[in-house]
């Protein structure tokens, strides 16, 4: 899961050095940049920030769905949801590792998250209130994430692109399991169908916001585009998502919570009504409904786990000392 809204590159500084020119020429030729290659400092900083925010999003994203693992309504759903949330932990892990190739440590990145200094996707600050929210997240949030993540598989930075290829491969079941939950609810009792509609009503607009501010208001995508960290505009991806999703929702027999939505007969595109960008700004600025408790949950797990990490480190040190004292015995 991921938010395009996090994409922000540092303003491009002096691009005039011969190294910078060679670097840009490699990118223009679709060559991949690897960790030890020369790169502009701003490219490195932009990537560390974007990849770590992407990683944080995966880790924080475990919480809203994890909220329903113990209440999943069948054993099949329970196993699928647990496997999916576990995948997100794995994706966070791959992404932290990609950021680490640029010289940041996981510890330092996690500390930034826990200190409230790093951003993560604002979508995870919305609450999961019913089982249908698990369906809606899989269908819509993962659907939006896929739109964002597929272009990242071709990102100019090799480790990020490789991590995204793995993530995309693993995520292919996530959206399907979400849609299947929605389908089952929509074919179920009236109460189940109402639950599905309510979830769509609550998740639709926040999902459209996941793609970030409209291109007209976005100040910083030029450098990211030039560096091929980002390949499509926010509005372009948002439109792609809407066009793919609306027919799926209509197939479910659900109504989108947008009275102005209609298909443009000439272009074939589904056009949406006005997005409440004030809400977006508020959530990004930390005013999300669950923002405080998401960070609290991460801090609690981190603090409660400190003695375990210390124990593992202490044991490893003891073992190494024993082995050094007597190399003939296995420690």
């Amino acid at each position: 899961m991921y938010s395009q809204g996090l994409n922000q590159s540092d303003p491009s500084s002096a691009h005039t050095s011969p190294e910078a020119a060679r670097f840009q020429a490699r990118i223009d030729a679709e060559d991949k940049i690897e960790p030890n290659d020369w790169m502009p400092e701003a490219y490195r900083r932009t990537l560390i920030r974007q990849i770590s925010q992407h990683a944080h999003s995966e880790i924080v994203g475990m919480l809203p769905e994890g909220n329903w693992i113990t209440r999943a309504p069948s054993l099949r759903r329970k196993a699928a949801l647990l496997a999916k949330v576990q995948d997100e932990g794995g994706h966070g892990l791959y992404l932290y590792a990609a950021a680490e190739t640029l010289g940041a440590s996981r510890e330092e990145l996690v500390d930034q998250l826990l200190a409230g200094k790093a951003k993560y996707s604002s979508i995870f600050n919305y609450p999961t209130l019913t089982w249908a929210d698990i369906g809606a997240i899989g269908w819509l949030v993962d659907g939006a994430a896929i739109m964002n993540q597929i272009p990242l598989c071709r990102c100019s930075f090799g480790p990020y692109a490789r991590a995204m290829i793995r993530v995309c491969k693993e995520e292919s079941f996530h959206q399907r399991q979400g849609y299947e939950i929605m389908l089952t609810l929509c074919r179920g009792t009236p109460a189940q169908k109402a639950m599905a509609q309510d979830a769509l009503d609550r998740w639709w607009w926040p999902c459209l916001m996941m793609f970030g501010p409209p291109d007209s208001a976005s100040q910083h995508s030029d450098t990211s585009m030039q560096w091929k960290i980002k390949r499509f505009t926010n509005d372009g991806l948002r439109q792609k998502f809407i066009d793919a999703t609306v027919p799926q929702g209509l197939h479910l027999g659900l109504a989108f919570p947008d009275p102005d939505m209609r298909q443009n007969a000439a272009t074939g595109h589904w056009e949406h009504g006005a997005i409440d960008w004030d809400e977006f700004k508020r959530v990004v600025a930390g005013g999300g409904f669950c923002a405080a408790e998401r960070l609290e949950a991460r801090r609690k797990a981190h603090d409660a786990g400190a003695w375990v990490r210390d124990a593992a480190a202490a044991h490893a040190a003891k073992r190494a000392a024993r082995q050094a004292a007597n190399p003939r015995i296995a420690a």
Partner: protein, 95 residues
């Protein structure tokens, strides 16, 4: 309040008998045993592997990208090392 860094390990997986181990990613773990279990739990969840190698990341010695031209370019002109350099008439068949 930064936690002391847990060592980083590179993970290599043989996906099928007969194939070489291939780098798939990395894990953090305090020691080799935990790193092996973490590698198994993180990187073989979908039947990706039959064998796992883990290597402390700091044990890897990498060539310097600054030496790229010196290290790898001289080989470009040695085209006589490649089979297509030699002419064999079609009627002789595959060789």
């Amino acid at each position: 309040m930064s936690t002391p860094a847990t060592p980083l390990w590179e993970v290599f997986i043989r996906s099928r008998s007969g194939l070489a181990h291939r780098h798939v990613g990395s894990v953090h773990a305090a020691d080799a045993t935990l790193a092996m279990q973490a590698a198994r739990d993180v990187y073989t969840r979908r039947g990706e592997g039959l064998s796992v190698w883990i290597v402390p990341s700091n044990a890897i010695i990498a060539s310097d990208p600054a030496d790229k031209e010196m290290m790898f370019e001289p080989t470009a002109s040695k085209i006589y090392r490649h089979p297509t350099f030699y002419e064999v008439p079609d009627e002789v068949g595959h060789m």
